[in-house]
């Protein structure tokens, strides 16, 4: 072999060796810490275990994704839209053929803690196992016991509709090697038990940061503690920062108001809308007082950070007369001449943090689609707002939002018709 040929051969061998090593590293990172799976069928559950599992399944809002619109609860079929395609939630009822009837406790635990399915395939993190990995083994067992107690529904899972290469297990393995570590919840001994309970619920079962954090280009959040707010991909609702006093931080709220918001959907200074309504309906309204207090304690104690004050328009923006006229015509009857709202019915718009967010995403959704806060035991007959999608064009909505973001002491940047059009196209 000539010398140059030998150099090329050695370079190729080196590259192959590096590729093999990287492959081995990715593979190792994907199975690290996993115990051999035990396929023994689960033992009969106690009624207490099932009841506890039902409650925990509420805390995790499993029903929210694992139920198609109008479909059998927990039988799956709902699409979770992602920038990489649709991931379809699976059938969690105990049907042996199409559900999880044949799963052992150990396999169920492995899915929650390690993000691996019964057959060993890696699960997509649209199923929030980067959060659920914090769930204790006992809690996972209780949730499994509850799901096994449901009536089996024969409903085959829909295959995911993901683009190449995101539909490949190898790509998912690389993603997991980069962004996922299985890790149990570690209580902070320096904090009270109630704070730790709140942390367990918010970071783990509640998977709050599946929405309330920004994601990188590969769809990963930085860590389960990040609650600094983010735009929910595809749906384009902005889940505000839970740490910023300018967004949805609650450090200066009375704990009772935080509990009220989670329990009833409305509180003196805010009401829930958009995807958060689903969370209140399917999950938080069912939680007991102790757990809601614990979540409130944890949320109040979050270190302030993340988003800053909205930037004052420079030069100061002068609201135009078109926006003012539209406000008078369509909004003032309920939200008041001075944006003061009606307590318990219509939110004030003056100095409302939800109006002042940098991104107008949520405002555009609300104006176009209208909406009700969720009906809950604490607020069974909410007041609603009509949709304006068929009444106002993009220029109208931009003028209106610009007006209310610059009136009654509000100081937030103007909204352009282009931005309205962008969010209108994702409104559905």
């Amino acid at each position: 072999m000539s010398r140059p040929l030998r150099t090329v051969a050695m370079a190729i061998a080196l590259l192959v060796a590096v590729a093999l090593l990287l492959g081995a590293l990715v593979a190792w990172l994907n199975v690290r810490g996993e115990e051999p799976v035990d396929t023994t069928p689960p033992r009969a559950a106690t009624p207490e275990q099932i009841e506890r599992g039902a409650y925990l399944a509420r805390a995790g809002n499993c029903i929210g994704c694992h139920t198609a619109r109008g479909g059998t609860p927990y039988a799956g079929g709902r699409a979770v839209p992602t920038p990489f395609g649709d991931v379809f939630a699976s059938n969690l009822t105990p049907d042996p053929a199409t559900g999880i009837g044949g799963w052992s406790d150990s396999q169920f635990w492995r899915a929650l803690h390690h993000g691996r399915s019964r057959d060993g395939r890696l699960l997509y993190p649209a199923f929030p196992y980067p959060n659920y990995t914090r769930i204790t083994r006992a809690d996972a067992g209780a949730i499994h016991a509850y799901l096994r107690s449901l009536a089996p529904a024969h409903q085959p899972n829909r295959p995911h509709a993901l683009r190449f290469p995101f539909d490949q297990q190898a790509a998912l393995a690389v993603w997991r090697a980069l962004y996922f570590r299985a890790a149990p919840f570690e209580p902070d001994a320096a904090r009270p038990a109630t704070w730790n309970r709140g942390a367990y619920l918010v970071e783990g079962l509640g998977h709050c940061n599946a929405c309330h954090a920004s994601r990188n280009v590969l769809g990963a959040t930085s860590n389960p503690l990040d609650l600094a707010g983010g735009l929910i991909p595809v749906q384009n609702w902005y889940a505000p920062s839970l740490t910023s006093p300018w967004q949805a931080g609650v450090a200066d709220w009375p704990a009772a108001d935080i509990v009220a918001l989670l329990k009833t959907g409305v509180a003196p200074r805010a009401s829930v809308s958009g995807p958060m309504s689903e969370v209140v309906v399917g999950s938080t309204q069912h939680l007991n007082a102790g757990d809601l207090d614990a979540m409130a304690e944890y949320l109040r104690a979050l270190p302030a950070g993340g988003a800053t004050a909205p930037v004052d328009p420079d030069p100061p923006y002068k609201p135009g007369s078109v926006g003012a006229k539209l406000y008078e015509q369509h909004c003032a009857a309920c939200h008041g001449e001075q944006g003061e709202g009606v307590r318990g019915a219509y939110p004030a718009l003056a100095r409302n943090r939800a109006v002042l967010l940098d991104t107008p995403a949520n405002l555009v959704h609300v104006v176009l689609e209208g909406g009700f806060p969720p009906s809950t035991n604490g607020n069974p007959r909410p007041f609603g707002m009509p949709p304006f999608a068929t009444v106002l064009n993009d220029n109208d909505v931009a003028a209106l939002l610009t007006f209310l973001r610059a009136s009654w002491g509000n100081q937030a940047p103007p909204v352009s018709a282009v931005e309205v059009g962008r969010f209108r196209s994702t409104s559905r």
Partner: protein, 242 residues
């Protein structure tokens, strides 16, 4: 003297309050903790008190049978009917509130608008009348009146009126059933019927229906004189699951 001055003040007060709404015409009505106030979210499109919008599409909801309205609300929320604005609006509402909403609109007695003059030939209109009042045995289409009542004002609690509705709306709904866009709880009798009708038949019967005046104080019938010719889900017809 004193007495008459007080009386004068009272009269002036009454006059003043009586005139007030006119003086500040355009000012919003005061907030009331009522269902009507809560339902402003609906009447924005469906017209004041749900009497139907002037654009000829959004249908009247006032005075329709409560169970019918409830079935439609659930169908929009759960995806059997496909209209994104309705689905988004209803998504966070539970069955109990949807019942209250249905009862609210069902209880309203509001005058109907004048009929829409027909814009088609006499032959087409008589074909429409035939389908509505007698049906078409060859097509296996029963008379509309067999289920919707001889007065076509619907039947309590779950069958809606067919007169007093905009023509565009009737066409759109029958078309949607025909193409599988709209669904009712099964067995979906309206889908079966719409699929047996040609587009010309749908147009003929909606022309005739929209041209019928609604008698004053007309209401849904209490019951049908004879059993329904088809099994229809959600109506309480024999054997139909709710």
């Amino acid at each position: 003297m004193n007495v008459s001055r007080t009386r004068l003040a009272a009269v002036l007060c009454m006059v003043a309050t009586g005139l007030l709404p006119a003086a500040v015409r355009g000012a919003p009505p005061p907030f009331e903790n009522t269902m009507a106030q809560r339902m402003l979210a609906c009447t924005g499109c469906h017209g004041a008190q749900g009497r139907a919008a002037s654009d000829g599409y959004y249908p009247r909801i006032a005075g329709k049978p409560a169970q019918y309205l409830y079935n439609q609300l659930v169908s929009f929320r759960d995806g059997r009917r496909d209209y994104a604005l309705m689905t988004n609006l209803l998504a966070p509402l539970d069955d109990a509130y949807l019942h209250v909403i249905a009862e609210h609109f069902a209880s309203l007695e509001i005058p109907y608008p004048p009929p829409q003059p027909a814009t088609t030939s006499v032959d087409t209109l008589s074909r429409g009348e035939q389908l509505v009042t007698r049906g078409d045995t060859a097509l296996r289409v029963p008379a509309c009146a067999a289920c919707h009542g001889t007065g076509l004002m619907g039947v309590a609690p779950a069958i809606p009126a067919l007169i007093g509705m905009p023509r565009d709306y009737l066409n759109a709904q029958l078309g949607a059933w025909r193409t599988g866009k709209r669904h009712a709880p099964g067995p979906d009798c309206m889908a079966q019927i719409a699929q047996r009708l040609a587009p010309e038949d749908i147009s003929a019967l909606s022309q005739w229906l929209a041209a019928q005046p609604v008698p004053p104080l007309a209401k849904p019938a209490a019951a049908l004189p004879a059993p329904m010719p088809l099994e229809c889900g959600g109506t309480g017809s024999p054997g139909a699951p709710r």
